[in-house]
């Protein structure tokens, strides 16, 4: 299997588009939106763009850059507000007959964006182009579409325009790497993507390679398991993502990610040390790094005493590798230091609280902590994560408790967060438990009332604690002690310190039962949200590779748990996602005043 094909395919399409706009010998200026810089770097790199005649590159700002050439390209995500800014910027500048503007929208020029450009009357000198890349390999087992705004668009605002792009990317994956014989979906959006994938295939009738390595496609919606998003990730890569914010496989070691700051590429293929530690529990990482440091030192020391011939050989072969490893080791140690400094005095307390929320114990203390922290205006994202975790596990909060927390949150962090709390409610993350409404549901007068009720209270769902119990996702024993093998990395719950097994681990494991998937419990828990493909297909029991696709984002802790499953089953599992996501990132995006999609 060569996931590099995906990159080549994306590259090919990009270069084709650029050539279509203007031949490579014609110089162009390029303005690129911040969110697209890293992905474009991974897809083509600056060198290839230059070869295609891109002369000057600018970061998109509120004012137009100092243009140099007459062909001017914009690279923007399909976010309405961004498109609106660009359109207004161009409108202000007016028409210059010699200049042509090309707006490349990733992944697609949405109708609403096209309509915007049309209404502003700029289409006389602006041409809109769609460009979608295939899944971008971020690591050997992780592919991403880097569509960070998809979660908000699809799950929060319920606008599903971007799901077609996911279906297209999956079709492209099949065209390059073979057709999936067995497809399972868990969640409404996944089902929709699967339907769109089939529609595309029927329309285009593409040809697929005869040999296929990936036999299974398992698709899940992010909102099926929000707990994995809210709990603190405790694998090394997860911790880095939570604290330093991974962007397209990179983290910056200073807070602002300013230019010139040290950056760390989180790719196990290019960094051996990262490959060794990325999935480890954070408590074991520093130990591993210090062991590694000693080993490297020993290697250097041994070679110092060798003969000249051996020394020559060492310098020409091993030294570069050792030096590169030492450099990477230093970066990982720095990253650990930053994280430890940031989390000092906070992390342990938070982990204890999360354990309480999952086990449903010490709820009085839990609420006292929330009230106390809110009064001090402690970090909003952290507080909201705890509030949401509590609400999910308790299937909503009692009316009095809900209103108390709501009021105190707004008084502490600003009334503008009325919108934030509304968003969280819409997502089913921070809700008021309404026993009256649930019992009255069948008596509601008309279908509309029931639809509205279902949409606002999500009462058609089984309470999450019941799901956890039915699927055995809470490995805490009767004494509420975390599973002893949690930190050893033998049990999937280790990624959350032994308090919770990611639902995806369990689901994929059940899907891959030898003869047919044993998903009876899932049918009871998720009803129509679960769709199982044709179990009679001869490939069902085949031991091919598995693509697990997340619609709405995946946490690196979940990726680590699937990595563990992959090792346990002896089958390769590759995770494809619309973007990587962490709890802190998610909450920050929810609390942001700019929730454009």
């Amino acid at each position: 299997m060569d996931l590099g094909n995906l990159r080549q395919s994306s590259q090919f399409r990009l270069l084709n588009l650029l050539t279509k706009i203007a031949p490579s010998d014609v110089q162009k200026d390029l303005v690129i939106h911040e969110d697209l810089m890293k992905p474009i770097d991974l897809v083509s790199g600056a060198r290839l763009l230059r070869e295609q005649g891109v002369d000057k590159m600018f970061k998109l700002a509120s004012v137009a850059p100092p243009w140099k050439n007459y062909i001017r390209l914009y690279f923007i995500p399909s976010i309405y507000a961004v498109a609106e800014n660009v359109a207004k910027q161009l409108k202000r500048h007016g028409v210059e007959k010699t200049v042509s503007y090309h707006i490349i929208v990733v992944p697609k020029v949405l109708t609403v964006i096209h309509s915007l450009f049309e209404s502003l009357g700029v289409l006389d000198f602006v041409t809109l182009h769609s460009y979608s890349w295939d899944f971008i390999p971020l690591d050997s087992n992780l592919l991403s579409l880097e569509l960070h705004h998809l979660f908000k668009a699809s799950f929060l605002k319920e606008e599903n325009s971007l799901l077609t792009s996911v279906a297209k990317a999956l079709m492209s994956f099949e065209c390059l790497l073979g057709k999936f014989s067995c497809v399972m979906t868990l969640g409404e959006k996944s089902q929709r993507v699967h339907n769109l994938l089939n529609t595309w295939k029927n329309e285009i009738q593409p040809t697929f390679p005869v040999e296929t390595e990936f036999t299974h496609l398992i698709m899940l919606d992010r909102n099926i398991d929000f707990v994995s998003l809210l709990l603190t990730q405790l694998t090394y890569e997860g911790v880095l993502d939570e604290n330093l914010k991974m962007k397209s496989g990179f983290v910056y070691l200073d807070a602002n990610g300013a230019e010139g700051s040290q950056r760390l590429m989180l790719n196990s293929a290019s960094d051996e040390i990262y490959g060794e530690i990325k999935g480890k529990h954070i408590s074991a990482v520093f130990q591993h790094l210090s062991k590694k440091a000693k080993e490297l030192q020993q290697k250097r020391d041994i070679k110092n005493t060798d003969s000249i011939e051996e020394m020559k050989n060492f310098v020409s072969h091993d030294l570069r590798r050792i030096q590169s490893q030492q450099k990477s080791l230093a970066l990982h140690i720095s990253a650990c230091e930053i994280v430890m400094k940031r989390q000092a005095g906070i992390l342990e307390e938070l982990l204890e609280l999360q354990e309480d929320a999952m086990s449903g114990t010490k709820m009085k203390e839990y609420l006292a902590f929330l009230e106390d922290s809110i009064a001090r205006q402690f970090n909003l994202a952290t507080i909201l994560r705890l509030c949401c975790l509590h609400s999910i596990m308790e299937d909503g909060l009692p009316e009095k408790e809900y209103h108390l927390l709501q009021r105190q949150l707004l008084q502490a962090y600003g009334y503008r967060h009325l919108t934030t709390l509304h968003y969280l409610q819409r997502l089913g993350l921070f809700n008021q438990r309404d026993s009256k409404m649930i019992s009255l549901e069948p008596l509601l007068p008309d279908r509309l009332a029931r639809v509205a009720h279902a949409a606002s209270f999500r009462s058609e769902r089984m309470p999450f604690r019941k799901i956890c119990q039915r699927l055995n996702l809470l490995p805490l024993d009767e004494s509420s002690q975390p599973n002893p093998c949690a930190k050893s990395g033998q049990h999937p719950s280790y990624v959350f310190g032994g308090v919770y097994t990611p639902l995806v681990y369990h689901f994929v494991e059940r899907c891959l039962k030898e003869k047919e998937p044993s998903l009876g419990d899932y049918v009871r828990c998720f009803g129509n949200n679960l769709r199982i493909g044709d179990c009679s297909h001869p490939q069902w029991g085949a031991r091919g590779k598995i693509l697990v696709c997340f619609i709405g984002g995946v946490t690196l802790a979940e990726v680590a748990s699937l990595d563990l499953l992959s090792r346990q089953l002896g089958r390769q599992i590759v995770v494809a996602t619309t973007s990587t996501i962490s709890g802190s990132d998610f909450m920050e995006s929810m609390t942001s005043q700019h929730t454009d999609t």
Binding site: T111, L163, E203, A375, F378, Q411, R416, L418
Partner: protein, 455 residues
């Protein structure tokens, strides 16, 4: 003219048209110049050459063509007789062209149009004029399931239907309604979004849309916009008591923040931006960013600069507490942080009398947390000593005193525990000569007085 020559000409003509001597003379007025027999024969021949159409598409094509033909026949010579059962493609295109020239468009199949949008082909929705056709079009888009296709149809409906007609249509189609609300949000039509949410019985969301609309014009108009929706719009929605109260509180806060910030800005001494902070608390606000900050940030600001203000003043911390019904915990934390940032002693605020008159911390605030924040904000040493003495368990007091290097308290705990070894170890670990002397003196006295101190 020589007749045989004429005959030869007419018979050999490639475009044989009309023979005055033939039997069809009776149809001389026929503009086609052909007999019905000839046309029937030609029609039969043509039909034989037309490939057989699939059943479904034939029906649809038939319908489309019939429509266009009927529209055509109403405006042209009625003597035109077409066989419409098996039209050719060219014929269809010609008819469409003709019909467009007479400004009466043909309607493509909704399914085909939706498919065209999905595949990125060019499409025209202007032919869907009837409400029933628009409904079918929307339903087809919903059936396909692509959000962008639904959006394209909705944008068309937005342009071509009045809100009074469109909203009931969306009310019956929840997925389309959600997509439309998203479009309205993008277009910043918050009020329309609120009305639609109201129709969908999602009144809380409707309030949020109205609330968001107040921030559209910038900071200057927020208060007046909020007042406007509070007075005029919210009464249209039910079950929004909590949200109404929140908006009312927001207005009240803005009414206070403006004058407080202005008063402060008029003062001669410039405000020094205090950089002291703690990971356990929020960032303090200044006069510049006071307006728009949260209620508790405002309270903290007032505790810093207007601590003694009488209750009837807008900037009074006690006034704020009472007006907004803040809890003791909310008030105490912010008063504590505010006073410590002003380098004042915050302890009197925190202490209340316990059951037997002994002082204790009010509202059960955690002493370790207070110490942590005081340490981050460079609180005075005296504060630590006083707070540590309030820790009941000696073990905990010892740990905290050690953490914050309050040597005298550590020493006193060790003395009370009669732990000579630890005391000696502690003496060796510190540099403060006065504390070392204190330990030495204690040990000297205790050796002579308490023999068991060695244990």
């Amino acid at each position: 003219m020589d007749k045989p020559e004429d005959e030869k000409y007419w018979s050999s003509s490639a475009t044989k048209g009309f023979d005055f001597d033939s039997e069809e003379n009776e149809h001389a007025g026929d503009i086609f110049g052909a007999t019905p027999l000839q046309t029937a024969q030609l029609s039969k021949e043509v039909q034989q050459n037309i490939p057989h159409q699939p059943v479904v598409s034939r029906g649809e094509t038939h319908r489309k063509l019939s429509n266009s033909l009927s529209s055509l026949s109403t405006c042209s010579n009625s003597s035109y007789k077409f066989n419409t059962s098996q039209p050719t493609k060219q014929c269809e295109v010609t008819c469409k062209l003709l019909s467009s020239t007479i400004n009466d468009e043909t309607m493509s199949s909704p399914k085909d149009v939706v498919r065209s949008i999905f595949l990125g082909m060019s499409y025209d929705l202007s032919c869907f004029k009837k409400l029933s056709d628009k409904k079918i079009l929307l339903d087809e888009a919903l059936k396909l399931g692509d959000g962008d296709v639904i959006c394209a149809v909705l944008l068309f409906l937005q342009k071509s239907l009045h809100q009074v007609v469109l909203f009931p249509l969306l009310k019956e189609r929840y997925v389309a309604a959600r997509e439309y609300i998203a479009i309205l949000e993008k277009q910043k039509c918050f009020k329309e979004a609120a009305i639609l949410c109201g129709e969908l019985q999602q009144t809380k969301e409707a309030v949020v849309h109205l609330y968001n609309s107040c921030f559209r014009e910038g900071e200057q108009t927020i208060q007046s916009s909020l007042e406007q929706i509070y007075k005029n719009e919210l009464k249209n929605f039910k079950q929004i008591e909590v949200e109404s109260e929140i908006i009312e509180e927001h207005i009240l806060l803005l009414e206070r923040q403006g004058p407080i910030a202005v008063t402060r800005a008029r003062l001669p001494q410039s405000e020094i931006d205090d950089t002291r902070t703690s990971p356990f608390i929020g960032k303090a606000v200044t006069a510049q960013n006071l307006v728009g900050s949260s209620l508790l940030s405002t309270l903290q600001y007032c505790c810093r600069h207007n601590w003694d203000a009488p209750e009837n003043l807008l900037a009074s911390p006690i006034g704020l507490k009472k007006t907004f019904k803040l809890t003791e915990r909310q008030f105490l934390w912010n008063a504590f942080i505010g006073r410590i940032l002003m380098n004042e002693d915050p302890l009197p605020i925190l202490l209340v009398k316990g059951m037997f008159g002994a002082p204790k911390i009010s509202a059960s605030l955690s002493i370790p947390r207070i110490l942590e924040i005081a340490s981050n904000l460079n609180g005075k040493p005296n504060l630590f000593d006083q707070l540590l003495l309030l820790v009941e368990k000696s073990e905990k007091r010892y740990q905290l005193a050690k953490k914050y290097q309050r040597h005298r308290i550590v020493i006193d705990v060790l003395i009370s525990n009669k732990d000579r070894i630890s005391l000696l170890q502690y003496r060796d670990s510190i540099d403060d000569q006065s504390e070392i002397d204190y330990i030495n003196n204690t040990l000297r006295v205790s050796v002579s007085s308490v023999k068991c101190f060695n244990h």
